[in-house]
Symmetry: C2
Subunit: 456 residues, 2 copies
Amino acid sequence: MGTTSRRDHQMHLGAFIYYAGHHHAGWRHADSDVEGMFGIELYKKLAATAERGKFDMMFFADLLYVTQVENSASGMLDPLTLLSALSTVTDRLGLTATVSTTYNEPYNVARKFASLDFISGGRAGWNIVTSQLDIEAHNYGKPKHPEHGLRYEMAREFVEVVTRLWDSWEDDALVLDRESGRFADGAKVQPVDYTGQWYSTKGPLNVPRPPQGYPVLIQAGSSGPGQDFAAQYGEVIFTAQQSKKAAQDFYASVNSKLSQYGRASGSLKIMPGLSPVIGATEEEAWRKFHELQALIPPSSAITVLSGFLNYDLSGYPLDQPLPRDIPDPVAASNGMKSRVQLYMDMAYQDNLSILELGRKILTSRGHMQFVGTPEQLTDVMQDWFEGYACDGFNIMPPVLPGDLDDFVNTVIPVLQERGLFRTEYSGRTLREHLGLQRPDVGHFRQEVQRAAVDVR
Amino acid sequence: MGTTSRRDHQMHLGAFIYYAGHHHAGWRHADSDVEGMFGIELYKKLAATAERGKFDMMFFADLLYVTQVENSASGMLDPLTLLSALSTVTDRLGLTATVSTTYNEPYNVARKFASLDFISGGRAGWNIVTSQLDIEAHNYGKPKHPEHGLRYEMAREFVEVVTRLWDSWEDDALVLDRESGRFADGAKVQPVDYTGQWYSTKGPLNVPRPPQGYPVLIQAGSSGPGQDFAAQYGEVIFTAQQSKKAAQDFYASVNSKLSQYGRASGSLKIMPGLSPVIGATEEEAWRKFHELQALIPPSSAITVLSGFLNYDLSGYPLDQPLPRDIPDPVAASNGMKSRVQLYMDMAYQDNLSILELGRKILTSRGHMQFVGTPEQLTDVMQDWFEGYACDGFNIMPPVLPGDLDDFVNTVIPVLQERGLFRTEYSGRTLREHLGLQRPDVGHFRQEVQRAAVDVR
């Protein structure tokens, strides 16, 4: 395969924290701390473990609703609140979280991430999502969630506004001269005066330019509009990839789009999700995996599958294959279209039963599921990394905190021995960990201008 | 004077943090850490000092704009981001901040404060404000800030929605039974289904009910609508009072309104702002005060005064009294009406020059300014507290961190010796510090119903 991208010589790793584990039934496992889900101690422990493992970053997803509280781990503390709390008990770890563009104000988002970047000394990253579901819209007094394409148009404008607000103070605007009484250089603090189709702001922001210039911009969409958005603004992509071949195609496709936006190769790191069930032997790993799968209630599998496919399957027999005559679920989906396609392909190719497909989704939500030993896992990670399928991985431990601990204790040392991962942080900021340049004021607008000149 | 309120036997204290000091020129003083304004170390130090002093809470104000960056301390890190960061390095201190109802979504505010309450073990408090200025509206894509009365109507609905969201999980909704796979009792997690004039939400919230039931509700308005709002929802009022007599009238007025809303006396703590310049001798204190006043640039005094009165005074001679023929500034003001009235009275009564009035506003922004020794300050605080002028004070150190340190080192011990302030925390939560009851689900709706029954 191969591309002409400038590659970092080591992979990047995220510690993706989700409920008391990524596996749907992970919270029921003895190694979970589900009792700690709504306190800070669990997350302090996880952050300490991730930092001990020299992870580039800790990553929190976000959902703006709850359903199925009866049988599923439900409810999430606000991710930015958690990251801020963790900033004072960590030193190097990147602190990244999902914040939706659809249900927030750009001025607030710009300020919150700038503030996190300041208090963490340049360790903040924003996973830009557009949310997914009508039930999220209903919590915000809106009758329905905006359509997929429109959401990305809105998101583009949202990010435009946010980056302009981060640029509204030049890097050296603060003077702080007690003697003369000059606090800042007013000429270097300028309004934004942005009037867009969906968002407008006068500015300037009420916080100076963040230490990293912009907190790292992360993007998680893998659909067409998602890829284009990432190629324009993303510096990290979290993507769901099930096979090395698909991941290589995705890697090549996204990288080829970078230049359209005047961006240097290497300026966008692609990190697929990876959910590892690890055992000292293969047998032990599989035993743990089957144990987890059996803990998924059949009713949850059906409910989640019905929701995912936008079609009520509760009347169908659980042990039969997914019917082929249901309305096209990809067309019906208003979010995660690429993920839905992936599962449809899997269901029909492998002739999975409804229960099997439902449980499969609940296992790692479309991300790569690995079961095996630390050496086997390292082999896969090395193969993908060296084969230009990715720049690293977002690790999704099935049970938290136990499986993050296991990963750091057993997999990280093997990666390090093979020279695939850092043994110590060399930088201070998340940009430094990721090998990303610090953007100048007006960074994206200059890139777009450069791209326009290239095209002419 | 006196009222029939149930009084706490000791006063309550807040440590109000604002820029590098409350005094307009405080940042220029040698004891300020203005260089630390956009980092976390300053705030960690302040929190540690406040906790050492056994303060009930730390309090952050908020402004959603910057102006005058050239000559004034400008820009503020997001207060909730700071409080979250401080939650992991403090143990007992209440963590309270201003969040505007006008430029946020109720679902987000409910969740953020619930999250802070969880991670701090029940130490969160929300200062409910409606913001003040058109330049804030402009940052949020709105042509103008809503009118004063309307804002309070909107705020009432906003708080209604937020408290219903906090109530959407019953206190014992979480089950967390690994064996049966039951995460929560679905019957105890219910939608809110609220459709209001300005805000609607379906719910439930995506976070369980906070440890305190509701984070403590603080209110800072002293105008008519502000008082009514506080009497309905507030559990703490931060108010600006210049004289004991006016404070006593305010205290009696607000307390008399409580029963209209079915609320018990003692369920609302009134804490005026107090900005103390302290010296070992009176002379030393006054020297410091005059030193600070002289650091206020005349241009800042005129600009701020003009903004405050909504009338451009830059053409007038600085050493002359405030002209009496300017348009009524109280009518022209769309925020802090009670504060404007207070300064107008002061200006005409004391025949202040324009410069003096401007500098006076910039000294403590309408709050009580004290200059003297720790013993003298304690006398004043005791006199107000015992005279039913307040339930405590929100301390506004003119220079930060220096003057908070001084207050804790020199004033707190005198208050403690006289039995007026705690020598150790007896509780864990902010409600416990303040002697406020933990509200049951449906608390405010029940109170309103009780009040309706009483009236009938």
